[in-house]
């Protein structure tokens, strides 16, 4: 089937409507980026539910100083799999596989991803990888139990003899390749399949962020894959890359892991930054403030993120402290630019508090808290006394819960485009308040208990019963987050085929809102002229273009 991209008169396109296999065979054989993206979305949201369920068990265990809900061994498996599922199987694939897959080709006016078969392969690797990792729970030794970072030597054949560890490694190999293929696909799509007039500096910020994310994937993920293969050799083929006895070094794993791991943080975060940057302007009815500054900020975050990996290793005593300290602190600058740009976008706008917008504002505030506490951790002396305590746990949970808020914002915003139906706003607002307040109730006690000296990955704290109150509060917050997720699940069922959305329910700016909801097989029957980064807005409001230089050239009525 060949694809033509041209103007509105393309009537044989309708006959190109895909009439292939239906049902399960359609799902197995599809190469349509939208169906693959939906599969990614559903799979990763299920992974989020699984990871969340594990987290709730952890939080129940910690409500008493000597909780007896799970054993030590089970507890280690729980937090390892919670972290692994959330990072490797939910946040990453959701960020660059789910919404990116659906939205990026639509936003640049492409008929599909550049390599549709590779795209499908990415999904199958992701799905099998996810099942492989979870299968660890059903092996005799249990699932992986060394923390999601898998520090050597806890992963060697002495400390972790079980099959669960091998399954964990195998799963990461599969999902790692899946991510690399997605990265290749995104870069190729964005570089080669843009519609005429869609120059790089007219692309929506979401697509920009996905481009940068994809480049980061290509820089970072091969390192992890190589590290995992070496780890597998250590475990089974008698090499001594990470073991001291054979002349290896456990710190090598930390270097390799974090050389992947810190860019990974931004691989997770940048797509959500992008989503929020799409949503805030639409619901403020203004163009994004400082569009070029946003792109500059994204690129500098990406560049800096590869030079900060050892701030996770300040307390190992073998890293160059000032170098990594200044690089890490500098990341605050582009992130700050982004936050000010979001506020600048809202400033002077007409803000419509839809669920997506509320989630986005919640994202900005929560991310601000996570970012500010991150500044402490970039300072080695402060990291020395908070490293591996709940302060760090709270810091990155502020960040990742902000990403969850961003993910929800993206789902509420793009659900009409994905399914053709709006998600219910009332349930959405209930979910938002539960999620937002729950997140703060969940993280703030953790900051305090961390400063009081509670280390992370503790199954119990028998000597410090005074930490119980704070932990109970944290668990209450976790419960609220859990309930908010249930509200989301209910909303998905409740809103199924209830309120048809129409092509452009939000009066949005970007190209994906120009086509039907959901889009036809190869996305577009027609495309507008692309003369700015808001082609759909320009088409609908030809008299309201973005002002070029702020308020000095005021040639229009408000």
């Amino acid at each position: 089937m060949s694809e033509h991209v041209d103007t509105l008169t393309h009537d044989d396109h309708a006959s190109h409507e895909h009439h292939g296999a239906t049902g399960i065979l359609n799902w197995l054989t599809t190469t349509d980026h939208k169906i693959i993206g939906m599969s990614y979305t559903i799979t990763s949201v299920i992974m989020m539910l699984i990871g969340g369920a594990l987290a709730e068990v952890i939080r129940i265990q910690l409500t008493t100083p000597t909780g007896s809900l799970v054993t030590f061994s089970q507890y280690n498996q729980l937090f390892t799999m919670h972290g692994s599922v959330m990072i490797y199987l939910f946040a990453g694939p959701f960020a660059f596989g789910a919404l990116a897959n659906i939205i990026v080709p639509l936003q640049i006016g492409a008929p599909d991803m550049a390599f549709p078969r590779l795209n499908a392969l990415s999904y199958w690797l992701y799905l099998t990888g996810s099942l492989t990792m979870l299968a660890g729970f059903f092996t005799t030794g249990g699932a992986a139990n060394f923390g999601w970072v898998g520090y050597a030597p806890m992963t060697d054949s002495v400390n972790a003899p079980g099959v669960g560890t091998d399954l964990w490694i195998g799963a990461l190999l599969l999902t790692g390749f899946s991510a690399i293929f997605t990265g290749v696909n995104l870069v190729a799509t964005i570089y080669y399949l843009r519609a005429p007039g869609m120059t790089l500096f007219r692309m929506p910020i979401f697509t920009w962020n996905l481009l940068v994310t994809a480049i980061l994937i290509l820089l970072a993920f091969p390192v992890l894959t190589a590290g995992l293969i070496m780890l597998f050799c250590d475990r089974h083929f008698g090499t001594h890359i990470y073991t001291v006895v054979g002349g290896g070094s456990p710190v090598l794993w930390q270097n390799i892991f974090w050389f992947w791991g810190h860019p990974e943080v931004y691989i997770l975060a940048l797509p959500f930054f992008g989503m929020v940057t799409e949503i805030i302007p639409v619901f403020s009815r203004k163009p994004v403030f400082g569009y070029k500054g946003m792109i500059f900020a994204t690129l500098s975050i990406a560049a800096l993120s590869l030079g900060v990996w050892a701030h996770h290793m300040f307390t190992t005593g073998v890293v160059l402290l000032p170098f990594f300290s200044i690089m890490s602190l500098l990341i605050a600058v582009p992130t700050g630019i982004k936050i000010f740009n979001w506020i600048g976008t809202m400033w002077g706008g007409q803000i419509w508090f839809s669920t997506a917008m509320l989630m986005s504002i919640g994202f900005v505030i929560t991310f601000l808290i996570g970012g500010l506490t991150g500044i402490y951790l970039a300072s080695p002396p402060l990291d020395f006394f908070t490293h591996d305590t709940y302060f760090v746990v709270a810091h990155f949970h502020s960040v990742v819960m902000a990403l969850v808020l961003g993910a929800m914002a993206g789902l509420y915003y793009w659900a009409p485009k994905m399914t053709g139906y709006l998600l219910d706003e009332r349930l959405g607002k209930i979910q938002f308040w539960l999620l937002f307040i729950g997140t703060q109730v969940f993280t703030f006690p953790q900051y305090i208990v961390g400063l009081n000296g509670m280390p992370r990955r503790m199954a119990l704290y028998p000597n410090n019963p005074e930490w119980q109150t704070l932990n109970v509060w944290s668990s209450i917050g976790a419960l609220m987050i859990g309930i908010s997720t249930l509200v989301f699940a209910i909303n998905c069922f409740y809103s199924w085929k209830r309120t048809p959305a129409g092509d452009n329910p939000w009066d949005a700016h970007t190209l994906e809102w120009f086509t039907t909801s959901p889009p036809p097989h190869h996305n577009y029957y027609r495309l507008p002229k692309i003369r700015s980064e808001r082609p759909t807005w320009d088409y609908n409001h030809p008299d309201k273009p973005a002002l070029v230089h702020g308020h000095n050239h005021d040639g229009e009525s408000s």
């Binding site: 041209d6 549709p116 099998t128 570089y191 390799i256």
Partner: protein
């Protein structure tokens, strides 16, 4: 196409500067190696894009005032559907299982992979499914 190249070249240059600071300051081998290859990962594709962008016709997607009609016509073939990604995925999964549960699983794994590669190649030569 020039800007696409410049992004990668710029990232490569940034990593080169970081490498220039990091290696002399720390003499730490693993991080320096990884950063050095990050430099190459910026420069190789970036340099290629930039080199190519000077030799190719300007593309409508790089021009500020292009019309949709400018890219009308055959741009590429997109498969409507294909079973081979699934086959290849299952093959890859089984080869990972072979690493863990026994090398005999490599036989079905390799068969699936070979089948998928042959099938996908044939499919691509036909110009997509159906």
């Amino acid at each position: 196409m020039k800007n696409e190249g410049r992004i990668l070249l710029g990232l490569g240059l940034f990593f080169l500067i970081m490498f220039g600071f990091y290696w002399p300051l720390s003499h730490e081998q693993s991080g320096s190696t990884m950063m050095f290859f990050a430099v190459l990962l910026g420069f190789l594709p970036g340099g290629y894009y930039y080199w190519w962008s000077r030799r190719m016709k300007p593309r409508p997607e790089d021009s500020d005032d292009a019309d949709m009609a400018e890219s009308a016509g055959f741009i590429d073939s997109f498969p409507g559907s294909s079973i081979f990604p699934f086959t290849l995925g299952m093959g890859a999964w089984m080869s990972v299982m072979a690493m863990i549960f026994g090398i005999w699983l490599a036989i079905p794994a390799l068969s699936l992979i070979v089948w998928a590669l042959l099938g996908a190649t044939a499919e691509a030569r036909r110009g997509g499914h159906r």
